[in-house]
Amino acid sequence: MDINTIIQILDSAVRLMTPLLLACLAGLYSERSGVFDIGLEGKMLMAAFSAAAVAALTGSVWLGLLAGIAGSLMLSLVHGLASITFRGNQLISGVAINFLASGLTVLLGQKIFALGGRTPSLTGGGRFGAIRLPFAETLEPVPVIGPIYADLISGHSILVYVAFLCVPLTWWLLFRTRFGLRLRAVGENPASVDTAGVSVTRLRYVAIGICGVLCGLAGAYLATGLGAGFVKEMTAGRGFIALAALIFAKWRPWGALFATFLFGLLEAIAGRFPSIDLGIITVPSMFMNALPYILTVIILAGFVGRAIPPRAGGEPYVKER
């Protein structure tokens, strides 16, 4: 395997991990605040649809992005109302959101575009194009460093860079600011925050708001960056993979980067080598494609060390003496 193949695989891993990373960080904010969110999948799907639909109708990818964020935020709000304000079961609310998004996107898609739930293919201004970083052309001929810079680091859509910047930003927010301290506290022991005179409800709403925005970016990237339009169920379980990555990452931002890279890499390898010939047996492409999902199951089954979730996760906060 030469250097160019490796760079190509890594390049594709970076693109494939981006929606996972955004969704994983989205889940991180929500779960760190004590609200479990299995509705990441649904929110991404909703965002992908609204982004693609608005981009197709207006021809502007930026309006599409805003619509994607709005669609995802709307579902976040539903989750918040159900699980924070009305203290409902967070898992059930999440499941409901997934079903709602799955049905609503296809229904609206058919109603608006009559293409069987798809949106028209996006072209030109309807998609996020690649950003060429400065000196990419100049450096290209330099061996090793050239292709790494020009192909791997340069040439992605803006949302990829946003996603990667979100990692240090999240770390800083979480561990260096007042907001982060309170956010981590409310997921561990909401009573400590409440007795300190800080509103548990408001903190949790802010957290799921951030979660909604990030899911919106993830969905918009799927439909307007990675793909060129919305197709039915296009998230393909990425929301759940992001949740698995979150557990793998032990609810830490740098861990999220590493975990989602692993998933992205597996997906990239499966895309590059549909089947691998090991001499005696040939690993079939179905197995390669299933790898990220198999890894998800292994992680969720708890084979990867002990991950301690935020202690108050999943519990609606009820005041007690």
Binding site: L181, R182, G197, R321
Partner: protein, 558 residues
């Protein structure tokens, strides 16, 4: 820095001239049909320690939660330092200078002390300056009030006594002038409690006002200046502590005369019922919980095990009761009535133990003693549901169980006497009566009873103690585990003190003193020549946390 901080120093010159720190008038609060507080008036003078005493469910905690902004009163007025204020949330209370130390600490367990201190009281959006300021302030507070604690230690590594200090520091950091403590000594050793009282006196002498909620009469008599008594949501009396007596307070609390001492004859022990030899237990994390203990219990005696919770008593009770922690490794021998008991394997379960004549009132009645959502009559049958009188063939004889339960509920004066009510809806004392009724009425040869009166009100304590003594007088053996030293001393015939998985020593209840037991509870065996501060246990409760420290040595042959 706000003025309140500099005002704290120096004794208050004329306390009677200043307006009272707290003045409540006509406070009422109901939760649905339950009236938790009825028309409460309360005045607490500035710079005093005021006790609020009452049985469980008397409404003490509700009243204080109203003061701290946790609940909104239905009616009534609150004045702080003479100013009428509406306390709508905890922030308002904190701003008014009220701090509260809850019974169950409100700390984030995986945060450091500093992070917990600044949470909610940060200086700005960035953490670093807040942490730095808190570190300096903490050092000042520690020196001023004997409140030393390592600012960088994580809360879960701290002993409960130190966690409580963090709670007090939290309030002081927020410049509280009025400090409310809800049952602060429940989790402390006598020496730790003494230390706490020294701190509280120091705070009072600095001009702070302290409200102490408790159900322990001894504490009220020891530390408070004035005391208020609550009963069934009403304030029944407010008196000067020096002018009252424990007997009078107890009568006010319960509404009738209460026998303070357990009335019992000297024990007449007979044959050995239970004999424990070199018992060991290592839990699934590799921590030695029980480290080779041996003792006997004879017919007709109550053996009390004293100790701060977390020193192996829980594991001992669970092991004898037939449900040791999962994954634990057990060694040693236990002989019951001449036959050895299986400590591991399928025959070491609670049902087999019951069949061998061991009754068990577990420490945690809500998790282990009852199924909270099941009706009282069902709970009375649990563990004995295979008893022949409860069954007809493979079916349960519901009518028979009900009849039996109704009779037990009546004999144990469970209130309300409604067998259909779910266990959850009884008060703590009545829940405990249900468990005790179930176990004691089976007339076991050996009764294991853990924390029999935790969270139980005085009237029910008297009743439960009487039943335990009756069982002893009927020639049965009782193993009593309790963290309440008063209870151990008044109820037991012999006392064993556990510390760090060992039995540190044995004392006769009639001849020992709380001081002597307190030292043993802290791992000090040389009780003759000990100093006062030796009674404070090491910060960490397990040997794995401090491998370099000398292992405590029990007395004599234990």
């Amino acid at each position: 820095m706000p003025a309140a901080d500099t005002m704290g120093g120096g004794p208050v010159s004329a306390p009677h001239a200043a307006p009272p720190a707290i003045e409540l008038s006509g406070i009422s609060k109901s939760f649905g049909p339950v009236q938790a507080n009825k028309d409460i008036d309360l005045t607490v003078a500035k710079g005093s320690i005021h006790g609020i005493i009452g049985e469980n469910g008397a409404g003490k905690s509700t009243l204080m939660s109203i003061l701290y902004g946790f609940y909104k009163p239905d009616r009534g007025e609150i004045r702080v330092n003479g100013r009428a204020i509406q306390i709508t949330d905890s922030m308002t209370a904190i701003r008014a200078g009220i701090g509260m130390v809850f019974q169950h600490f409100k700390l984030v367990r995986n945060f450091t002390v500093l992070e917990n201190i600044i949470l909610g009281a940060e200086d700005g959006p960035m953490l670093r300056p807040s942490l730095a300021r808190a570190r300096t302030r903490l050092r000042e507070l520690a020196e001023e009030y004997e409140l030393q604690v390592d600012p960088d230690e994580v809360i879960e590594e701290l002993s409960v006594g130190h966690q409580q200090r963090v709670e007090i520091l939290k309030a002081l950091y927020r410049q509280a002038d009025i400090l409310i403590l809800d049952e602060p000594t429940g989790v402390l050793t006598p020496a730790e409690a003494d230390h706490l009282f020294r701190i509280l006196r120091g705070l009072r002498d600095e001009g702070k006002t302290i409200i102490l909620i408790t159900h322990k009469l001894r504490e009220i008599m020891e530390i408070t200046d004035t005391v208020s008594v609550m009963r069934r949501g009403e304030m029944v009396a407010s008196v000067t502590t020096a002018e009252t007596s424990p007997e009078e307070l107890a009568e006010l609390m319960v509404g009738r005369k209460v026998l303070m001492e357990v009335d019992k004859q000297p024990a007449a022990p007979g044959e050995t019922v239970l004999s424990v030899r070199d018992l060991r237990l290592v839990d699934d994390e590799g921590v030695e919980r029980i480290r080779g203990i041996s003792f006997d219990i004879r017919e007709g005696e109550i053996v009390g095990i004293a100790g701060v919770s977390g020193n192996g008593q829980t594991q001992l009770l669970e092991l004898l009761g037939g449900f040791p922690e999962k994954g634990a490794t057990v060694g040693g021998e236990v002989v019951m009535n001449g036959h050895s008991l299986d400590l591991t394997g399928t025959k070491s379960d609670a049902a087999t133990r019951r069949a061998r004549g061991i009754g068990h009132v577990p420490e945690d009645r809500q998790d282990e003693g009852l199924i909270m959502d099941f009706a009282a009559w069902e709970n009375v049958a649990f563990g004995y549901h295979h008893a022949p009188e409860y069954g007809r063939g493979v079916f349960m004889d519901r009518a028979a169980i009900r009849r039996d339960a109704e009779a037990k509920i009546e004999r144990f004066d469970v209130r309300p006497p409604n067998p259909d009510l779910a266990a959850r809806n009884f008060s703590g004392g009545n829940q405990q009566k249900i468990v005790v009724a179930r176990e004691v009425e089976r007339n076991p040869d050996l009764l294991l009873i853990g924390q029999p009166t935790r969270g139980v009100d005085i009237g029910a304590i008297e009743f439960i103690h009487k039943r335990i003594v009756e069982l002893r007088d009927a020639g049965k053996a009782v193993l009593l585990v309790s963290v309440e030293l008063d209870e151990i001393m008044s109820l037991s015939d012999r006392i064993l003190v556990m510390f760090d998985g060992l039995i540190m020593g044995e004392r006769q209840a009639a001849t020992t003193t709380p001081g002597e037991l307190g030292l043993l509870m802290a791992g000090v065996t040389d009780t003759e020549n000990a100093r006062d501060e030796d009674g404070i246990p090491p910060e960490h409760s397990h040997p794995v946390d401090r491998p370099d420290e000398a292992t405590p040595r029990p007395e004599g042959g234990h």
